[in-house]
Subunit: 431 residues, 2 copies
């Protein structure tokens, strides 16, 4: 397949997709949810082939778990589709209506972005989620899933595409890329692809960001912090930190570094260290933090250098450091963090407010786990990814991040010359 040619064709198709009705797009989602059930045998059989290949290739059990598409995951997909159907239309929303002058009316209306390329990890449920978000938001999409689920993806994509067309969406609205070298072709389609959403490892996402002129939405790393303020509820702090670390350590919103106010460190750190150790977490820290922990608990702590605080472990490992106050915590987070999600644990409103204003991250939390950074948990129905960029969408990205807007100006022959000459004046009245 020639991705460049296909992308150019898709670009031609995008306005038609953008103009499709809300009912048609929802009908496509409904058909997909029905078809998943109907074609279950074919889907599960394809998935069995993927799992067999994974076993033969000696892929780790923790990863195989993600490749699996079983009854539970299918029901999750179907539930996700039904939830998405209940969400209002993100397209065609009137965002502004203003009379510039008599008979000259400006409207700003939300519209799909156009052609989106999504490259995602080997998880069959991701194929359904990403495709359905693109359909709901009226975008054309080029989808490339991980090769370890190639068989499952092919069956799922076939279902999704045929349901979209049956519902009345344009033939060319969805395309599946299957070969790894097609990614490099896709990166060169800056004339026709409006947005790329890569998901996966840090190095993969960074590679995408560095090798394309297409705007990229996503995050390369998730170095999240929890700062335990001197006014923290220490009993609450321990389970929040343990949850943020171990509830899903490989997730981008898992905590990597805990900063503790020096004035409570002697009391708090040993309690935290014991709880983390019991949960199976390896401890790393500055000389000062390590000494405090080892003296009172006997636990081993790896000493780390300052620059190592830029490490995203994605594992049962945590970095520990003492700071003077919330100001030093904020400085550390803005310097070593990845602008993803950071939390302060405190009962002090002033410290919390300072933290919220000054930490330059998509999510600034108070008294809860960083793991809440997720489109489903925020109530967006689903997410296409999490953005650590500050342009366009930030944080978990749902339907809203998949639309832009256009300005529609309706007149009756108005010319600019009349306004620059002073013959006419704008009156800018919001309607």
């Amino acid at each position: 397949m020639n991705i460049r040619q296909e992308a150019a064709k898709m670009k031609q198709c995008a306005p038609e997709m953008a103009a499709s009705s809300f009912e048609t797009r929802n009908r496509a989602l409904e058909l997909i949810s029905e078809m998943l059930e109907k074609q279950r045998d074919e889907i599960f059989e394809a998935n069995a082939r993927d799992l067999k290949a994974a076993a033969e290739n000696g892929i780790a059990a923790s990863i195989v778990k993600r490749l699996k598409y079983d009854e539970t995951k299918m029901q999750d997909s179907i539930e996700g589709l039904r939830e998405l159907m209940t969400l209002p239309d993100p397209v065609g929303k009137l965002q502004l209506k203003r009379e510039l002058d008599e008979g000259l009316v400006l409207e700003r209306i939300s519209v799909p972005i156009g052609v989106i390329g999504v490259i995602f990890e080997a998880r069959p449920d991701a194929m359904v989620q990403v495709a359905s978000l693109c359909i709901k938001s009226g975008n054309c999409a080029i989808l490339k899933g991980g090769k370890e689920t190639a068989n499952t993806n092919r069956v799922l994509f076939g279902i999704i595409r045929s349901c979209a067309v049956e519902a009345g969406l344009p033939e060319g609205c969805l395309l599946q890329a299957e070969l790894h070298n097609e990614i490099d072709e896709l990166l060169e389609c800056d004339e026709d692809v409006d947005l790329l959403i890569p998901r996966g490892s840090n190095s993969f996402v960074r590679y995408i960001m560095e090798h394309t002129k297409i705007p990229v939405m996503g995050h390369s790393s998730g170095i999240c912090h929890i700062y335990v303020d001197r006014a923290a509820d220490q009993e609450m702090a321990v389970p929040v930190i343990v949850d943020a670390k171990i509830q899903y350590a490989a997730a981008c919103n898992a905590v990597e570094t805990v900063l503790v106010d020096r004035s409570i460190a002697a009391e708090f750190l040993p309690k935290l260290a014991n709880a983390l150790h019991e949960a199976g977490v390896k401890l790393r820290g500055t000389q000062e933090a390590a000494a405090l922990i080892t003296e009172s608990t006997g636990l081993a702590v790896d000493i780390m250098e300052e620059d190592a605080f830029r490490t995203e472990y994605n594992d049962f490992v945590i970095s520990l450091k003492l700071v003077d106050d919330v100001k030093e915590a904020v400085r550390h987070i803005n310097r070593y963090g990845s602008h993803h999600t950071d939390s302060i644990l405190t009962k002090d409103d002033e410290a919390a407010s300072y933290f919220s204003w000054m930490v330059d991250s998509a999510g600034v939390y108070r008294n809860c786990s960083t793991r809440f950074a997720d489109g489903f948990r925020y109530g967006f129905g689903a997410e296409v990814g999490i953005s650590t960029g500050k342009i366009h969408a930030r944080g978990p990205v749902g339907l809203e991040g998949l639309v832009t807007y256009k300005y529609v100006l309706s007149g009756s022959g108005q010319i600019v010359g009349d306004y620059t000459s002073g013959k006419k004046q704008f009156h800018h009245r919001d309607l």
Copy 2:
């Protein structure tokens, strides 16, 4: 000056700038408006030196007009500052407030983008406008103006910066770059600069877009169209097209191509050709359009090839072509246009609606001149540029395009484990 070091320092300063109060930022604008008056002699004297140098270097009169900063332009700057002061705070707006579960409240709040680099043409009024938009939106800014107004820029920047600091904004909130080679240094500051806004020639903007990893907002070309539908009011169409072409031909929102429905071409094109010719506009067109015009008016029309429709003239030249209907017009615009601003002239609601939906541009107009695409005319107070991108801001960009948002989540010890285990459920209630 080492731009990289300065940008890194500015990044550290950005949270403080972001947390500055609305009153402080408005006070800075007020002081600037007063100081411009007080230091008028110094400003005009610096501008006289720039104009003298321009004359010595043989710079064209049309450009010298833009370099000039006189009483009228100063009063425009002051009026602009006062208007900007009356606009509401773009920072700290609550965009969403949702209870995810009891005691777990999500807010989305608008925040400044952070550090913005603006590279603009040699126009002293642009320095005041760009700096004041950045101040009002709580952003730190690195400003680089055209070298032909270096003397005026230096005085204006000095005034702006000292007023900002006097009002209470952080010392490091604004920086002026003066040397051309500093632009290349700036392009490498992707760790510290959040957004670049280049203004100027197509080739310059394209150079910026191709040589940086920093997100770029702006437009390289402005190839705007007017489509004269079969149901157009022809008497209205002629002055609208003439205005769109000649009112300011060098502007990005001037029309470059007029598409005429074939069924009215014999009647309409000669009228249009005569009016354009009288206004001093050179005509170019397809063989078919040229024949029609020359036969009935005797006017000379340069024959053009299809690919030449990608040309932005920035001059008193226009391209003419006949099309079958609104569908062919839309296809031409989406193919050869630059997604800036395109207008349909018609009394037919259906054709107008089709055009609005299907043309993939930031501005889709009906029955008015493309020259209305401008932040001031849209009522944004001022504009920092016009974006033809679809990510983040689109069209004329005012204060709203200079902010992003952050998610603020406040809890009382909530952990994600309780929600994944089923012990607790989200209820997502908008407050």
